[in-house]
């Protein structure tokens, strides 16, 4: 990922694209600001290239636990009415949302 110093770490277009992926509707000003701010963090991240990591296994989780299971027994779970009471919109014991398809 070595890049010439003159090239910014992150382009404005990339920021706008990532915002869309992250379901965030940023203003033009926010895109400008984030391009600079996130760019400087990503520049710092390039420091990681100074370390020889050839053959080093990645750590996904500090304890390395696998296949944590419990006995397959029925037990009480969280109350449905209590959960639904916190939802923005509900119909017939279900979460209600605007139509999946429709004008943007």
């Amino acid at each position: 990922m070595a890049e010439p110093d003159s090239q910014p770490a992150l382009s404005r277009d990339e920021v706008a694209h990532v915002a869309k992926l992250a379901l965030l509707d940023l203003t033009e000003e926010e895109i400008d600001l984030f391009t600079v701010q996130l760019g400087s963090v990503i520049e710092t991240a390039h420091d990681m290239n100074n370390l020889d990591l050839e053959g080093v296994q990645p750590t996904h989780h500090p304890l390395g636990l696998t296949n944590v299971v419990r006995e397959d027994v029925v037990r009480p779970s969280i109350d449905r009415a209590e959960v639904l009471s916190q939802a923005p919109d509900v119909e017939d014991d279900r979460f209600k949302v605007p139509p999946a398809l429709g004008e943007d």
Binding site: L21, L24, T59, P62, E103
Partner: protein
């Protein structure tokens, strides 16, 4: 101006003893603390919510149980403050975010259940940087918390409200969460004890996730003994958290009086002023003083290099945002929290997230989404995960020759409100000494050890190997004796 008064009505151990023996009622203890909160909370803003009525009812129940001859819990009548990213059933839990404002969780975090089962009394939900992302508590959607030692300064973060609540004497103990230093750095800045246990030693069930492979809950207290007591209450296996370590709480109180004679203590070279820049002179002086105190008590003190820790910061700012971007995908306006208008589901999702998240949370989500996106994943996220392995290996090598390690907890004393908000990277540097322990999963804690040139508190960080909490608390207790 200072409104600091740690343990204003006694520390947790003392309060529990008085309440258990019937010399003082839980109701009186709670009233004392609520009165102090009423007097100074306007200045400090440690809380998002003060649970006055709930606390009084809980105190009455504790008093009735004791009067009825029931065995008092280990924390009978002890007021505790809970960081507002831990779920409390029927009590608003906001993460200091507009996206969760008004949400009442349908379940309670395991740690809160365990405190309450021992007679502790939650008195409020404490302020934090939104979703625990920050080092000053200025990123809260509900306003900044102030440092009780100097109301013009930050308390640190992200658990700034929990640290400030203990420093101000609003409660003798509180809970925080630590993803990159969010317990230890505010503990240092507020002059209280703050513990990040080994990853998985404490259940995360009911802790609203930020970086799931990094997050850990731990206590703030005014004494090392109280921190050990809270640790023993909250730690241990939990079937509701499949990432919790499958073993009981470690007996961390057992060696508090054992001293440090013969223990091998290593000062981390990279954090002792030689490699990582920006650690202030007064902080380094207190680190040296702590090392000298341990040597005087019989410890064998030397320096040790943990070379890859200097890569902790860049690695963390890939791993933590990546996990956050994934964890915070659940906030979409469908099942809970804020919903903004949209003509279709996708538009509603985006409008809700855009209206609900503050600037720092948006930055982290963006950074994480970028680090995980096609073409960049190996260069950023993958490399950062390899660095986690390197840091863990370097720590493990150091622990072949040392029982514990020592470093600053924070590069400086409390800084002025507004001082570091303009440039995120400047703020991120506050976590340079604490981040490596989250990446490796090792336990670490901050112990108050004197003050800086400005008269504000400084903490020294004690680090220990995986599940090495017993020796970590043992050394911390010696520092407490030496610092007193």
């Amino acid at each position: 101006m200072s409104v600091a008064k740690p343990a204003a009505f006694g520390d947790a151990t003392a309060i529990a003893a008085l309440v258990a023996s019937g010399d003082r009622t839980a109701a009186a203890v709670v009233d004392d603390h609520l009165a102090r909160i009423a007097e100074h909370e306007g200045d400090v803003h440690a809380f998002n919510l003060v649970m006055a009525d709930d606390a009084r009812s809980a105190a009455a129940a504790v008093d009735e149980a004791i009067a009825a001859g029931e065995t008092p819990g280990r924390l009978a009548g002890v007021p505790v403050a809970i960081k507002d990213n831990m779920c409390t059933r029927g009590v608003p839990t906001t993460c200091s975010s507009k996206i969760l404002e008004g949400w009442e969780p349908p379940y309670t975090a395991t740690v809160v259940d365990r405190l309450v089962a021992e007679g502790a009394i939650p008195v409020g939900k404490t302020n934090l940087d939104e979703f625990a992302m920050g080092s000053s508590t200025e990123n809260s959607a509900f306003g900044a918390t102030k440092n009780p030692y100097d109301l013009d300064k930050v308390p640190g973060g992200s658990s700034g409200g929990s640290a400030a609540a203990v420093a101000a004497g609003f409660a003798p103990a509180s809970l925080g969460s630590d993803t990159g230093g969010s317990i230890r750095q505010p503990a240092s800045l507020c002059g209280v004890v703050g513990v990040k246990p080994t990853y998985g030693a404490v259940s995360r069930y009911g802790l609203i996730a930020f970086g799931s492979s990094l997050d850990q809950i731990g206590p703030f207290t005014t004494t090392v003994g109280d921190a050990a007591l809270l640790y023993e209450v909250i730690a241990g296996d939990d079937p509701l958290d499949s990432t919790a370590s499958p073993q009981p709480a470690l007996p961390v109180s057992s060696k508090l009086d054992a001293g440090v004679d013969g223990l091998r203590v290593g000062i981390i070279t990279e954090m002792a002023g030689d490699v990582i820049e920006g650690i202030s002179g007064d902080v380094l002086a207190r680190l040296r003083a702590a090392a000298d105190a341990l040597a005087a008590a019989g410890a064998v003190v030397d320096e040790v290099s943990v070379p890859s820790t200097v890569y902790g910061l860049p690695a963390y700012y890939m791993v933590a945002p990546a996990e956050a971007s994934s964890n915070l995908a659940r906030f979409d306006g469908v099942r809970y929290g804020l919903r903004a208008d949209g003509t279709n589901t996708a538009a509603m999702n985006m409008a809700s997230r855009t209206a609900g998240f503050g600037p720092e949370v948006k930055r982290r989500i963006m950074l994480g989404t970028y680090a995980l996106s096609a073409g960049y994943r190996d260069a950023f996220y993958g490399k950062a995960q390899q660095i986690r392995t390197k840091i863990t290996e370097d720590f493990d090598s150091a622990y072949e020759n040392f029982d514990v390690l020592l470093s600053p907890a924070s590069p400086s004393t409390a800084f002025a409100l507004g001082d570091k908000t303009a440039d995120p990277l400047t703020m991120y540097l506050n976590d340079v000494c604490t981040i490596p322990s989250n990446l490796s999963g090792h336990p670490a804690m901050s112990v108050p050890f004197g003050v800086g040139d400005d008269g504000l508190p400084i903490g020294v960080q004690v680090l220990a190997p995986m599940l090495g909490e017993v020796v970590m608390f043992q050394v911390a207790a010696e520092l407490e004796r030496a610092g007193a």
